[in-house]
Subunit: 134 residues, 4 copies
Protein backbone atom coordinates (compact mmCIF):
# COMPACT_ATOMS: atom_id res chain seq x y z
CA UNK A 1 0.00 0.00 0.00
CA UNK A 2 1.32 3.39 -0.95
CA UNK A 3 1.46 6.00 1.79
CA UNK A 4 -1.67 8.15 2.02
CA UNK A 5 -1.59 11.39 0.10
CA UNK A 6 -1.59 14.53 2.22
CA UNK A 7 -5.13 15.82 2.68
CA UNK A 8 -5.86 19.46 1.97
CA UNK A 9 -6.41 21.74 4.94
CA UNK A 10 -9.82 22.93 5.95
CA UNK A 11 -11.61 19.73 5.08
CA UNK A 12 -14.69 18.54 6.92
CA UNK A 13 -14.67 14.91 8.00
CA UNK A 14 -17.55 12.50 8.24
CA UNK A 15 -18.15 8.77 8.09
CA UNK A 16 -20.45 7.01 5.64
CA UNK A 17 -23.55 5.90 7.54
CA UNK A 18 -25.03 2.44 7.11
CA UNK A 19 -28.33 3.93 5.99
CA UNK A 20 -26.46 5.81 3.26
CA UNK A 21 -25.43 2.61 1.47
CA UNK A 22 -27.59 0.84 -1.09
CA UNK A 23 -27.79 -2.72 -2.35
CA UNK A 24 -24.76 -2.23 -4.62
CA UNK A 25 -22.82 -2.25 -1.33
CA UNK A 26 -21.58 1.33 -1.68
CA UNK A 27 -22.76 4.78 -0.64
CA UNK A 28 -25.80 5.83 -2.66
CA UNK A 29 -25.12 8.70 -5.07
CA UNK A 30 -27.80 10.82 -3.42
CA UNK A 31 -25.92 10.76 -0.10
CA UNK A 32 -23.18 12.96 -1.54
CA UNK A 33 -25.66 15.79 -2.00
CA UNK A 34 -26.35 15.73 1.75
CA UNK A 35 -22.61 15.60 2.47
CA UNK A 36 -22.02 18.66 0.28
CA UNK A 37 -24.61 20.42 2.40
CA UNK A 38 -23.02 19.34 5.66
CA UNK A 39 -19.60 20.44 4.37
CA UNK A 40 -21.08 23.81 3.40
CA UNK A 41 -22.44 24.26 6.92
CA UNK A 42 -19.00 23.63 8.40
CA UNK A 43 -17.26 25.81 5.81
CA UNK A 44 -19.54 28.71 6.78
CA UNK A 45 -18.96 28.09 10.48
CA UNK A 46 -15.20 28.20 9.91
CA UNK A 47 -15.65 31.60 8.25
CA UNK A 48 -17.17 32.95 11.42
CA UNK A 49 -20.89 32.97 10.62
CA UNK A 50 -23.13 29.96 10.91
CA UNK A 51 -25.77 29.34 8.28
CA UNK A 52 -28.26 28.92 11.10
CA UNK A 53 -27.55 32.51 12.09
CA UNK A 54 -27.74 33.70 8.50
CA UNK A 55 -31.20 32.17 8.13
CA UNK A 56 -32.36 33.71 11.40
CA UNK A 57 -31.26 37.07 10.00
CA UNK A 58 -33.40 36.53 6.90
CA UNK A 59 -30.70 35.47 4.47
CA UNK A 60 -31.55 32.10 2.92
CA UNK A 61 -29.33 30.23 0.53
CA UNK A 62 -31.52 28.41 -1.96
CA UNK A 63 -29.95 25.70 -4.09
CA UNK A 64 -30.67 26.48 -7.74
CA UNK A 65 -28.30 23.99 -9.31
CA UNK A 66 -26.35 20.98 -8.15
CA UNK A 67 -24.07 18.57 -9.91
CA UNK A 68 -21.78 15.74 -8.91
CA UNK A 69 -19.26 13.45 -10.55
CA UNK A 70 -18.57 10.05 -9.01
CA UNK A 71 -15.03 8.83 -9.49
CA UNK A 72 -14.63 6.07 -6.94
CA UNK A 73 -17.07 4.24 -4.68
CA UNK A 74 -17.17 4.96 -0.98
CA UNK A 75 -18.36 2.38 1.54
CA UNK A 76 -20.02 2.12 4.92
CA UNK A 77 -17.77 3.42 7.69
CA UNK A 78 -15.28 5.01 5.26
CA UNK A 79 -13.89 8.20 6.71
CA UNK A 80 -14.32 11.00 4.17
CA UNK A 81 -12.77 14.44 4.01
CA UNK A 82 -14.62 17.13 2.08
CA UNK A 83 -13.04 20.35 0.88
CA UNK A 84 -15.31 23.28 0.07
CA UNK A 85 -14.20 26.23 -2.05
CA UNK A 86 -15.70 29.20 -3.86
CA UNK A 87 -15.99 28.93 -7.64
CA UNK A 88 -17.86 32.11 -8.44
CA UNK A 89 -19.51 35.04 -6.68
CA UNK A 90 -22.24 37.24 -8.13
CA UNK A 91 -24.40 39.89 -6.51
CA UNK A 92 -27.05 37.54 -5.26
CA UNK A 93 -25.54 34.08 -5.78
CA UNK A 94 -22.49 32.03 -5.02
CA UNK A 95 -21.21 28.79 -6.49
CA UNK A 96 -19.35 26.40 -4.24
CA UNK A 97 -17.27 23.39 -5.25
CA UNK A 98 -16.75 20.23 -3.20
CA UNK A 99 -14.11 17.55 -3.34
CA UNK A 100 -14.78 14.34 -1.45
CA UNK A 101 -11.63 12.43 -0.49
CA UNK A 102 -11.24 9.03 1.09
CA UNK A 103 -9.41 10.19 4.21
CA UNK A 104 -7.36 7.02 4.64
CA UNK A 105 -5.78 7.05 1.21
CA UNK A 106 -6.27 10.63 0.09
CA UNK A 107 -7.93 9.43 -3.12
CA UNK A 108 -10.52 11.69 -4.70
CA UNK A 109 -13.90 9.92 -4.66
CA UNK A 110 -16.23 12.59 -5.99
CA UNK A 111 -16.49 16.24 -6.96
CA UNK A 112 -19.47 18.54 -7.22
CA UNK A 113 -20.81 22.05 -7.18
CA UNK A 114 -23.89 23.85 -5.92
CA UNK A 115 -25.08 27.24 -7.06
CA UNK A 116 -26.89 29.05 -4.27
CA UNK A 117 -29.17 32.03 -4.65
CA UNK A 118 -29.40 34.39 -1.71
CA UNK A 119 -33.05 35.17 -0.99
CA UNK A 120 -35.09 36.75 1.81
CA UNK A 121 -37.99 35.06 3.63
CA UNK A 122 -40.30 36.10 0.80
CA UNK A 123 -38.13 34.45 -1.82
CA UNK A 124 -36.84 37.70 -3.31
CA UNK A 125 -33.21 37.86 -4.38
CA UNK A 126 -30.97 39.89 -2.10
CA UNK A 127 -27.27 40.71 -1.97
CA UNK A 128 -24.89 38.15 -0.54
CA UNK A 129 -24.07 38.93 3.09
CA UNK A 130 -20.60 40.41 3.70
CA UNK A 131 -19.28 37.08 5.00
CA UNK A 132 -19.86 35.53 1.59
CA UNK A 133 -19.27 38.55 -0.64
CA UNK A 134 -15.91 39.21 0.97
Amino acid sequence: MTPPLPLPEGTHRLRVRYCETDQMGVAHHGSYIDWFEEARTEWLRARGKTYRRMEEEGCLLQVVEVQAQYLRSTRYDDLLAIRTSVVERRNASITLAYEVFLAETGELAATGTTRLACVDRGGRLRRLPPELAE
Copy 2:
Protein backbone atom coordinates in the same frame (compact mmCIF):
# COMPACT_ATOMS: atom_id res chain seq x y z
CA MET B 1 -46.35 -21.03 -4.59
CA THR B 2 -49.55 -20.59 -2.62
CA PRO B 3 -52.11 -18.14 -4.00
CA PRO B 4 -51.71 -14.61 -2.67
CA LEU B 5 -53.73 -13.79 0.40
CA PRO B 6 -56.49 -11.25 -0.09
CA LEU B 7 -55.22 -7.78 0.81
CA PRO B 8 -57.25 -5.66 3.21
CA GLU B 9 -59.20 -2.78 1.76
CA GLY B 10 -58.08 0.78 2.12
CA THR B 11 -54.39 0.05 1.84
CA HIS B 12 -51.93 2.50 0.37
CA ARG B 13 -49.52 1.11 -2.20
CA LEU B 14 -45.94 2.08 -2.88
CA ARG B 15 -42.80 0.51 -4.28
CA VAL B 16 -39.50 0.20 -2.44
CA ARG B 17 -37.09 2.74 -3.90
CA TYR B 18 -33.51 1.83 -4.75
CA CYS B 19 -32.22 4.53 -2.41
CA GLU B 20 -34.22 2.90 0.40
CA THR B 21 -32.16 -0.29 0.30
CA ASP B 22 -28.92 -0.77 2.20
CA GLN B 23 -25.91 -3.02 1.74
CA MET B 24 -27.75 -6.00 3.27
CA GLY B 25 -29.71 -5.95 -0.01
CA VAL B 26 -33.05 -5.18 1.64
CA ALA B 27 -35.03 -2.06 2.52
CA HIS B 28 -33.39 -0.20 5.40
CA HIS B 29 -35.41 -0.30 8.62
CA GLY B 30 -35.57 3.50 8.70
CA SER B 31 -37.46 3.57 5.40
CA TYR B 32 -40.53 2.06 7.04
CA ILE B 33 -40.90 5.14 9.24
CA ASP B 34 -41.22 7.27 6.10
CA TRP B 35 -43.70 4.79 4.61
CA PHE B 36 -45.85 4.97 7.74
CA GLU B 37 -45.91 8.72 7.25
CA GLU B 38 -46.86 8.44 3.59
CA ALA B 39 -49.59 5.92 4.47
CA ARG B 40 -50.89 8.33 7.13
CA THR B 41 -51.10 11.13 4.56
CA GLU B 42 -53.19 8.93 2.26
CA TRP B 43 -55.34 7.63 5.11
CA LEU B 44 -56.20 11.22 6.05
CA ARG B 45 -56.91 12.12 2.43
CA ALA B 46 -59.31 9.17 2.17
CA ARG B 47 -61.13 10.53 5.23
CA GLY B 48 -61.80 13.75 3.39
CA LYS B 49 -59.27 16.12 4.91
CA THR B 50 -55.67 16.36 3.80
CA TYR B 51 -52.95 16.77 6.37
CA ARG B 52 -51.63 19.65 4.28
CA ARG B 53 -54.92 21.42 4.86
CA MET B 54 -54.91 20.56 8.56
CA GLU B 55 -51.47 22.14 8.95
CA GLU B 56 -52.55 25.23 7.05
CA GLU B 57 -55.41 25.55 9.53
CA GLY B 58 -52.97 25.44 12.43
CA CYS B 59 -53.42 21.85 13.49
CA LEU B 60 -50.08 20.05 13.51
CA LEU B 61 -49.63 16.37 14.28
CA GLN B 62 -46.35 15.93 16.09
CA VAL B 63 -44.91 12.44 16.39
CA VAL B 64 -44.25 11.75 20.07
CA GLU B 65 -43.62 8.04 19.82
CA VAL B 66 -42.92 5.57 17.05
CA GLN B 67 -42.27 1.86 17.02
CA ALA B 68 -41.89 -0.81 14.38
CA GLN B 69 -41.50 -4.57 14.24
CA TYR B 70 -39.80 -6.14 11.24
CA LEU B 71 -41.08 -9.58 10.35
CA ARG B 72 -39.89 -10.17 6.81
CA SER B 73 -37.45 -8.31 4.57
CA THR B 74 -38.69 -6.21 1.70
CA ARG B 75 -36.60 -5.56 -1.39
CA TYR B 76 -36.05 -2.96 -4.09
CA ASP B 77 -39.06 -2.70 -6.39
CA ASP B 78 -41.30 -4.78 -4.12
CA LEU B 79 -44.84 -3.51 -4.25
CA LEU B 80 -46.07 -2.88 -0.70
CA ALA B 81 -49.57 -2.31 0.64
CA ILE B 82 -49.90 -0.43 3.92
CA ARG B 83 -53.01 -0.47 6.06
CA THR B 84 -53.52 2.33 8.57
CA SER B 85 -55.94 2.10 11.48
CA VAL B 86 -56.74 3.93 14.71
CA VAL B 87 -55.54 2.32 17.92
CA GLU B 88 -56.50 4.97 20.44
CA ARG B 89 -57.96 8.48 20.58
CA ARG B 90 -57.47 10.96 23.42
CA ASN B 91 -58.37 14.63 23.66
CA ALA B 92 -55.20 15.89 22.07
CA SER B 93 -53.54 12.81 20.66
CA ILE B 94 -54.18 9.85 18.43
CA THR B 95 -52.32 6.58 17.98
CA LEU B 96 -52.26 4.98 14.56
CA ALA B 97 -51.17 1.47 13.64
CA TYR B 98 -49.65 0.37 10.35
CA GLU B 99 -49.38 -3.02 8.70
CA VAL B 100 -47.00 -3.34 5.77
CA PHE B 101 -47.86 -6.19 3.41
CA LEU B 102 -45.98 -7.54 0.43
CA ALA B 103 -48.66 -6.87 -2.15
CA GLU B 104 -47.77 -9.82 -4.39
CA THR B 105 -48.07 -12.49 -1.73
CA GLY B 106 -50.14 -10.77 0.94
CA GLU B 107 -47.50 -11.61 3.55
CA LEU B 108 -47.14 -9.25 6.49
CA ALA B 109 -43.66 -7.67 6.39
CA ALA B 110 -43.82 -5.19 9.25
CA THR B 111 -46.10 -3.57 11.78
CA GLY B 112 -45.79 -0.33 13.67
CA THR B 113 -47.49 2.49 15.49
CA THR B 114 -47.08 6.24 15.86
CA ARG B 115 -48.56 8.35 18.63
CA LEU B 116 -49.31 11.84 17.39
CA ALA B 117 -49.95 14.89 19.54
CA CYS B 118 -52.14 17.59 18.10
CA VAL B 119 -50.50 20.99 18.60
CA ASP B 120 -50.93 24.53 17.32
CA ARG B 121 -48.20 26.58 15.60
CA GLY B 122 -46.87 27.56 19.01
CA GLY B 123 -46.51 23.94 20.06
CA ARG B 124 -49.40 24.03 22.57
CA LEU B 125 -51.64 20.98 22.79
CA ARG B 126 -55.07 21.39 21.23
CA ARG B 127 -58.08 19.16 20.68
CA LEU B 128 -58.06 16.75 17.78
CA PRO B 129 -59.95 18.18 14.79
CA PRO B 130 -63.41 16.66 14.17
CA GLU B 131 -62.10 14.55 11.28
CA LEU B 132 -59.86 12.67 13.68
CA ALA B 133 -62.01 12.82 16.81
CA GLU B 134 -64.94 11.33 14.90
Copy 3:
Protein backbone atom coordinates in the same frame (compact mmCIF):
# COMPACT_ATOMS: atom_id res chain seq x y z
CA MET C 1 -56.10 30.54 -12.40
CA THR C 2 -55.08 29.57 -15.93
CA PRO C 3 -56.07 26.11 -17.07
CA PRO C 4 -53.42 23.47 -16.44
CA LEU C 5 -51.00 22.83 -19.26
CA PRO C 6 -51.28 19.42 -20.87
CA LEU C 7 -48.79 17.04 -19.25
CA PRO C 8 -46.51 15.02 -21.49
CA GLU C 9 -47.31 11.34 -21.90
CA GLY C 10 -45.33 8.65 -20.18
CA THR C 11 -44.71 10.62 -17.03
CA HIS C 12 -44.33 8.97 -13.66
CA ARG C 13 -46.38 10.47 -10.84
CA LEU C 14 -45.52 10.76 -7.18
CA ARG C 15 -46.37 12.98 -4.24
CA VAL C 16 -43.86 14.95 -2.18
CA ARG C 17 -43.47 13.20 1.18
CA TYR C 18 -43.48 15.12 4.43
CA CYS C 19 -40.02 13.78 5.28
CA GLU C 20 -38.77 15.20 1.97
CA THR C 21 -39.42 18.79 3.02
CA ASP C 22 -36.94 20.89 4.97
CA GLN C 23 -37.26 23.90 7.24
CA MET C 24 -37.58 26.27 4.25
CA GLY C 25 -41.04 24.69 3.88
CA VAL C 26 -40.32 23.16 0.48
CA ALA C 27 -39.00 19.86 -0.85
CA HIS C 28 -35.29 19.52 -0.13
CA HIS C 29 -33.11 19.66 -3.25
CA GLY C 30 -31.68 16.23 -2.48
CA SER C 31 -35.12 14.63 -2.76
CA TYR C 32 -35.18 15.26 -6.50
CA ILE C 33 -32.22 12.92 -6.95
CA ASP C 34 -34.28 10.11 -5.42
CA TRP C 35 -37.26 11.04 -7.61
CA PHE C 36 -35.10 10.87 -10.73
CA GLU C 37 -34.16 7.36 -9.64
CA GLU C 38 -37.76 6.34 -9.05
CA ALA C 39 -38.75 7.81 -12.44
CA ARG C 40 -35.92 5.83 -14.06
CA THR C 41 -37.20 2.61 -12.49
CA GLU C 42 -40.67 3.22 -13.93
CA TRP C 43 -39.30 4.30 -17.30
CA LEU C 44 -37.41 1.00 -17.56
CA ARG C 45 -40.47 -0.98 -16.47
CA ALA C 46 -42.51 0.70 -19.20
CA ARG C 47 -39.89 -0.42 -21.73
CA GLY C 48 -40.51 -4.00 -20.75
CA LYS C 49 -37.52 -4.78 -18.55
CA THR C 50 -37.33 -3.94 -14.87
CA TYR C 51 -34.07 -2.67 -13.44
CA ARG C 52 -34.45 -5.28 -10.71
CA ARG C 53 -34.27 -7.95 -13.39
CA MET C 54 -31.36 -6.24 -15.12
CA GLU C 55 -29.38 -6.28 -11.87
CA GLU C 56 -30.23 -9.93 -11.26
CA GLU C 57 -28.81 -10.66 -14.72
CA GLY C 58 -25.57 -8.92 -13.78
CA CYS C 59 -26.10 -5.61 -15.53
CA LEU C 60 -25.73 -2.75 -13.04
CA LEU C 61 -26.28 0.90 -13.88
CA GLN C 62 -23.84 2.95 -11.85
CA VAL C 63 -24.45 6.68 -11.58
CA VAL C 64 -21.28 8.47 -12.67
CA GLU C 65 -22.69 11.97 -12.96
CA VAL C 66 -25.81 13.73 -11.82
CA GLN C 67 -27.02 17.28 -12.15
CA ALA C 68 -30.21 19.15 -11.41
CA GLN C 69 -31.61 22.63 -11.96
CA TYR C 70 -34.31 23.92 -9.63
CA LEU C 71 -36.76 26.31 -11.25
CA ARG C 72 -39.70 26.37 -8.89
CA SER C 73 -40.24 25.06 -5.38
CA THR C 74 -42.37 22.00 -4.75
CA ARG C 75 -44.20 21.42 -1.49
CA TYR C 76 -45.44 18.63 0.74
CA ASP C 77 -48.28 16.71 -0.89
CA ASP C 78 -47.72 18.31 -4.30
CA LEU C 79 -48.44 15.82 -7.04
CA LEU C 80 -45.49 15.68 -9.42
CA ALA C 81 -45.16 14.21 -12.89
CA ILE C 82 -41.69 13.24 -14.07
CA ARG C 83 -40.78 12.63 -17.68
CA THR C 84 -37.68 10.57 -18.45
CA SER C 85 -35.95 10.61 -21.83
CA VAL C 86 -32.69 9.49 -23.40
CA VAL C 87 -30.10 12.17 -24.07
CA GLU C 88 -27.20 10.09 -25.28
CA ARG C 89 -26.22 6.44 -25.74
CA ARG C 90 -22.67 5.11 -25.85
CA ASN C 91 -21.38 1.55 -25.83
CA ALA C 92 -21.34 1.20 -22.09
CA SER C 93 -23.21 4.23 -20.82
CA ILE C 94 -26.44 6.08 -21.19
CA THR C 95 -27.48 9.58 -20.20
CA LEU C 96 -31.06 10.17 -19.14
CA ALA C 97 -32.84 13.50 -18.69
CA TYR C 98 -35.68 14.21 -16.29
CA GLU C 99 -38.29 16.93 -16.22
CA VAL C 100 -40.25 17.37 -13.01
CA PHE C 101 -43.65 19.01 -13.50
CA LEU C 102 -46.19 20.17 -10.97
CA ALA C 103 -49.04 17.94 -12.09
CA GLU C 104 -51.81 20.36 -11.13
CA THR C 105 -50.55 23.30 -13.15
CA GLY C 106 -48.21 21.66 -15.63
CA GLU C 107 -45.42 24.03 -14.59
CA LEU C 108 -41.86 22.79 -14.88
CA ALA C 109 -40.31 22.65 -11.41
CA ALA C 110 -36.92 21.08 -12.10
CA THR C 111 -34.80 19.40 -14.73
CA GLY C 112 -31.83 17.09 -14.42
CA THR C 113 -29.71 14.39 -15.96
CA THR C 114 -27.87 11.29 -14.82
CA ARG C 115 -25.11 9.55 -16.70
CA LEU C 116 -25.14 5.83 -15.99
CA ALA C 117 -22.31 3.42 -16.67
CA CYS C 118 -23.24 -0.17 -17.33
CA VAL C 119 -21.04 -2.48 -15.26
CA ASP C 120 -21.00 -6.13 -14.23
CA ARG C 121 -20.91 -7.39 -10.64
CA GLY C 122 -17.12 -6.91 -10.61
CA GLY C 123 -17.46 -3.28 -11.64
CA ARG C 124 -16.11 -3.80 -15.17
CA LEU C 125 -17.72 -1.84 -17.98
CA ARG C 126 -19.99 -3.88 -20.23
CA ARG C 127 -22.21 -3.15 -23.22
CA LEU C 128 -25.63 -1.71 -22.61
CA PRO C 129 -28.31 -4.42 -22.68
CA PRO C 130 -30.47 -4.51 -25.85
CA GLU C 131 -33.39 -2.86 -24.04
CA LEU C 132 -31.29 0.27 -23.52
CA ALA C 133 -29.15 0.14 -26.65
CA GLU C 134 -32.23 -0.13 -28.85
Copy 4:
Protein backbone atom coordinates in the same frame (compact mmCIF):
# COMPACT_ATOMS: atom_id res chain seq x y z
CA MET D 1 -29.74 30.31 31.41
CA THR D 2 -28.93 27.51 33.81
CA PRO D 3 -25.51 25.92 33.48
CA PRO D 4 -25.47 22.91 31.16
CA LEU D 5 -25.95 19.56 32.83
CA PRO D 6 -22.94 17.29 32.77
CA LEU D 7 -23.14 14.96 29.78
CA PRO D 8 -22.63 11.26 30.34
CA GLU D 9 -19.35 9.75 29.21
CA GLY D 10 -19.05 7.70 26.09
CA THR D 11 -21.55 9.68 24.10
CA HIS D 12 -21.32 10.06 20.35
CA ARG D 13 -21.70 13.58 19.01
CA LEU D 14 -23.25 14.74 15.78
CA ARG D 15 -24.95 17.81 14.38
CA VAL D 16 -28.45 17.92 12.93
CA ARG D 17 -28.15 18.23 9.15
CA TYR D 18 -30.26 20.69 7.19
CA CYS D 19 -31.70 17.84 5.11
CA GLU D 20 -32.83 16.18 8.32
CA THR D 21 -35.26 18.97 9.16
CA ASP D 22 -38.82 19.13 7.88
CA GLN D 23 -41.31 21.93 7.33
CA MET D 24 -42.17 22.05 11.04
CA GLY D 25 -38.71 23.59 11.42
CA VAL D 26 -37.32 20.76 13.53
CA ALA D 27 -35.49 17.50 12.92
CA HIS D 28 -37.80 14.93 11.34
CA HIS D 29 -38.64 12.02 13.64
CA GLY D 30 -37.22 9.54 11.15
CA SER D 31 -33.76 11.11 11.42
CA TYR D 32 -33.38 9.80 14.96
CA ILE D 33 -33.49 6.22 13.67
CA ASP D 34 -30.44 6.98 11.53
CA TRP D 35 -28.71 8.66 14.48
CA PHE D 36 -29.32 5.60 16.65
CA GLU D 37 -27.60 3.58 13.95
CA GLU D 38 -24.65 5.95 13.76
CA ALA D 39 -24.35 5.93 17.56
CA ARG D 40 -24.39 2.11 17.50
CA THR D 41 -21.55 2.08 14.96
CA GLU D 42 -19.43 4.29 17.23
CA TRP D 43 -20.38 2.34 20.36
CA LEU D 44 -19.15 -0.85 18.69
CA ARG D 45 -15.95 0.85 17.52
CA ALA D 46 -15.26 2.00 21.09
CA ARG D 47 -15.60 -1.63 22.22
CA GLY D 48 -12.78 -2.60 19.91
CA LYS D 49 -14.62 -4.20 17.00
CA THR D 50 -16.15 -2.27 14.14
CA TYR D 51 -19.49 -3.35 12.76
CA ARG D 52 -17.94 -3.21 9.30
CA ARG D 53 -15.51 -5.91 10.43
CA MET D 54 -18.28 -7.93 12.04
CA GLU D 55 -20.23 -7.95 8.77
CA GLU D 56 -17.14 -8.95 6.80
CA GLU D 57 -16.80 -11.89 9.18
CA GLY D 58 -20.36 -12.97 8.45
CA CYS D 59 -22.07 -11.64 11.55
CA LEU D 60 -24.92 -9.31 10.59
CA LEU D 61 -27.04 -7.41 13.05
CA GLN D 62 -30.57 -7.22 11.69
CA VAL D 63 -32.96 -4.74 13.25
CA VAL D 64 -36.09 -6.61 14.31
CA GLU D 65 -37.67 -3.91 16.42
CA VAL D 66 -37.17 -0.20 16.89
CA GLN D 67 -38.93 2.37 19.03
CA ALA D 68 -38.39 5.99 19.90
CA GLN D 69 -39.91 8.57 22.23
CA TYR D 70 -39.60 12.24 21.34
CA LEU D 71 -39.41 14.56 24.34
CA ARG D 72 -38.08 17.81 22.97
CA SER D 73 -37.51 19.08 19.44
CA THR D 74 -34.03 19.33 18.01
CA ARG D 75 -33.13 21.82 15.31
CA TYR D 76 -30.77 22.28 12.39
CA ASP D 77 -27.17 22.64 13.55
CA ASP D 78 -27.96 21.54 17.11
CA LEU D 79 -25.09 19.57 18.54
CA LEU D 80 -26.40 16.27 19.90
CA ALA D 81 -24.79 13.72 22.20
CA ILE D 82 -26.06 10.15 22.03
CA ARG D 83 -25.44 7.56 24.71
CA THR D 84 -25.76 3.89 23.80
CA SER D 85 -26.18 1.14 26.38
CA VAL D 86 -27.14 -2.53 26.55
CA VAL D 87 -30.63 -3.33 27.77
CA GLU D 88 -30.73 -7.08 27.26
CA ARG D 89 -28.60 -9.88 25.81
CA ARG D 90 -29.89 -13.21 24.56
CA ASN D 91 -28.15 -15.99 22.67
CA ALA D 92 -28.74 -14.54 19.26
CA SER D 93 -29.99 -11.03 19.91
CA ILE D 94 -29.16 -7.86 21.76
CA THR D 95 -31.27 -4.86 22.68
CA LEU D 96 -29.61 -1.46 22.80
CA ALA D 97 -30.98 1.75 24.28
CA TYR D 98 -30.18 5.27 23.11
CA GLU D 99 -30.50 8.62 24.82
CA VAL D 100 -30.23 11.72 22.65
CA PHE D 101 -29.14 14.83 24.53
CA LEU D 102 -28.90 18.41 23.39
CA ALA D 103 -25.17 18.83 23.99
CA GLU D 104 -25.33 22.55 24.82
CA THR D 105 -27.87 22.25 27.62
CA GLY D 106 -27.65 18.59 28.55
CA GLU D 107 -31.43 18.23 28.11
CA LEU D 108 -32.76 14.86 27.04
CA ALA D 109 -34.42 15.19 23.63
CA ALA D 110 -35.30 11.60 22.81
CA THR D 111 -34.89 8.00 23.88
CA GLY D 112 -35.18 4.78 21.96
CA THR D 113 -34.25 1.14 21.63
CA THR D 114 -33.41 -1.29 18.86
CA ARG D 115 -33.52 -5.06 19.14
CA LEU D 116 -30.95 -6.63 16.86
CA ALA D 117 -30.88 -10.26 15.76
CA CYS D 118 -27.49 -11.73 14.93
CA VAL D 119 -27.68 -13.60 11.63
CA ASP D 120 -25.26 -15.07 9.10
CA ARG D 121 -25.16 -14.19 5.39
CA GLY D 122 -27.96 -16.68 4.77
CA GLY D 123 -30.19 -15.03 7.34
CA ARG D 124 -29.93 -17.85 9.91
CA LEU D 125 -29.71 -16.90 13.56
CA ARG D 126 -26.27 -17.31 15.10
CA ARG D 127 -24.74 -16.64 18.50
CA LEU D 128 -23.70 -13.12 19.35
CA PRO D 129 -19.97 -12.62 18.79
CA PRO D 130 -17.83 -12.50 21.96
CA GLU D 131 -17.53 -8.69 21.76
CA LEU D 132 -21.28 -8.38 22.25
CA ALA D 133 -21.91 -11.42 24.44
CA GLU D 134 -19.24 -10.33 26.91
